[in-house]
Amino acid sequence: MIAATQAGAAFAGLDSRTTPSKTLISCGALGLALLLAIVVSSLVGSEQLPVRAALCSLASFGSTPCGLTSDQFDILFQIRIPRILLAAAVGASLATAGASYQSLLRNPLAEPYLLGISNGAAVGTMIALVFFGANEWGRPVLAFAGALVATMAVYRLALGRAGATPERLILAGVIVTTFLSSVIVFVTTLMDATRIRSFTFWLLGDLSGTSTTLLPISIAIAVLGTILLSLNARSLNLLMLGERDAFDLGVEVRSVRLIIFVVASLLVGSSVAASGSVGYVGLVVPHLTRLSLGSDNRISIPCAALGGGLFVIAADTVARTIIAPRELPVGAITALIGAPLFIYLLKRA
């Protein structure tokens, strides 16, 4: 597998076939698919809506109800659309964070969930819930802090004499993940029973508690983060050759690394604060985009953002309809789809 990435890295570094037009076409196609997914998923749910009226109302961006009753209108625009947009933001955040970690750390398994970064953000969110329960802003801020601390810890632990080898990195990730998991278990046992119930559901990844205050922030961070990471795509391409080679080719390795760590932590932090730990998105989506579109980060990062949004929207649509009117946590679905898909990809690659 490592050999495969190195080959891929070499390919990416020397790749000159990618042109802006190819980026535009592939991303445009994925963008259309995402838009389609938003529309289709907003038409399904535990309550039936008249399709034509709902479509008409969607086309008018909610300015006319097109014959929807006020309840149906509220279901569409106050429950479904915010939740779908949050799913898109969370998916985009996790997928781009995963894609950039994989390139920066030259490790196909680098993923927010497996590296313990999601857990770092979860601990941050938990601290915010326990100490500043009423203040919604505390959650993303502390989740970001937690993600950043976890990232730094994993990176430090992974640094050996020979640099951060892929094996050391995954081991460090496992150590940080298990340590933070026990912190989470410890704190949840100290919480009172009502809080545990909401917390355990949230830990598995849950989009039902879409907060109107946090939604715009999640979307803004997802968009800004994707843009920032895409701007560093060139450096990331060169970093896939190895830090020394990248440095020789004029990449400011330290500052690029810091930017990626901070931006990716911000992305992971905001999505965990909004929806808990949705696993596998940062792993499956970047691999899928790389396999189908090549490993040039200038393409794979923006495409991973769109693909991530698509993946989480699809998973959440399943989560909220399959046993309606009851609901499953979306994290259960992403893992259920993600794990077999990943095994298939590994076998094929």
């Binding site: 309550e47 309840d71 279901i75 119930r197 309606a324 609901e327």
Partner: protein, 318 residues
């Protein structure tokens, strides 16, 4: 089984001596004509057998004087039938009656300590629903501790639990009396609300995430008896996580917020999707002590009375 254990009791004996010992034990066995096997002799003779709610037939000694309760409703039932002095262990959730707080704690309902339970040497452990693991039950049984499971899904189930616990403790008469009184009170409520139109109620267990009471929750039956219909009465399971849009579409006429009991303050605000419901616009959101609604014990009838009075004040005004 016991013979196997004997091997380990004398691990230093030579094979021949072991053989001798076994033949001796066999001889004893033959001499007593083997009418009781060794396992039965360990337990007291003439054990009673009572079926519990999991369908299991539980063997019990004729007189039970050491009981551990693993749920607050069962602790309340034990005290109600007059068995409080025989309760040797309960959980940190058990806070009613006040005496229950002074009993040795074996952990909470979700994570009781097996060691502590065994150290208390109970004859019976009372368990609520299947919250405890299969393994847990087996381990207790291997220490000759019977595990009795209760799983009340309606008020009659609660009454059955009271009678079962009474029977276990040899307080059958007392338990019957308790049930009779509770039944009378519930009948009064049911007769009073009979003439009213049922109110469509949403039971909000928690707002975020949105949890409610489903088909298997005993409070769903309580709501029905209080002259109302839970809009989630047909949702499978006891405490399902509920879809926000279905909650909005349900348009309940009243909302019940269980709060203020031992779970503490909390659950004081109506969930976002319910804020435009008739219940909110008509100011029919009722906060009711959650200990009376989530604990299937004697105080469930208090919960029934409180709900009925809140939902149908017109017929209770005197």
């Amino acid at each position: 089984m016991k013979v196997g254990g004997t091997f380990y009791l004398f691990p230093t004996l030579h094979n021949r001596k072991r053989l001798l010992l076994i033949s001796f034990l066999l001889a004893v066995c033959v001499a007593t004509s083997c009418n009781t096997n060794l396992k039965d002799r360990v337990q007291e003779p003439a054990a009673r057998v009572i079926a519990d709610d999991s369908g299991k037939r539980v063997a019990l000694p004729p007189k039970v004087d050491r009981v551990v309760s693993l749920a607050p409703n069962l602790t309340e039932i034990v005290f109600a039938v007059g068995g409080g002095n025989r309760l040797v262990g309960d959980t940190t959730y058990c806070d009613f009656p006040a005496e229950a707080k002074n009993i040795a704690k074996v952990g909470d309902t979700l994570q009781p300590s097996l060691e502590k339970i065994i150290a208390l040497q109970p004859q019976v452990v009372l368990v609520s629903t299947a919250s405890q693991l299969e393994v847990f039950t087996r381990q207790l049984q291997s220490h000759n501790i019977s595990v009795f499971v209760t799983d009340p899904r309606d008020l009659d189930g609660v009454f059955r639990s009271i009678e079962q616990v009474g029977e276990i403790l040899g307080e059958t008469e007392k338990a019957k009396l308790v049930v009779q009184r509770l039944r009378e009170r519930s009948t009064v409520v049911e007769n009073t609300v009979k003439s009213t139109t049922p109110v469509r109620v949403f039971y909000q267990l928690s707002a975020e995430p949105l949890y409610t009471a489903g088909h298997d929750a005993f409070v769903t039956d309580l709501i029905k008896r209080a002259g109302a219909i839970s809009v989630t009465a047909d949702v499978p399971g006891a405490w399902p996580k509920y879809s926000a849009e279905s909650a909005l579409a349900a348009k309940p006429e009243a909302i019940i917020l269980p709060t203020g009991g031992s779970m503490g303050e909390g659950n004081l605000t109506v969930a976002e999707p319910l804020r435009k419901s008739p219940a909110v616009t008509n100011n029919r959101v009722y906060k009711i002590n959650d200990d009376h609604l989530v604990r299937p014990g004697p105080r469930a009838v208090d919960g029934l009375e409180e709900m009925a009075k809140a939902l149908h004040p017109e017929v209770f005004r005197r």
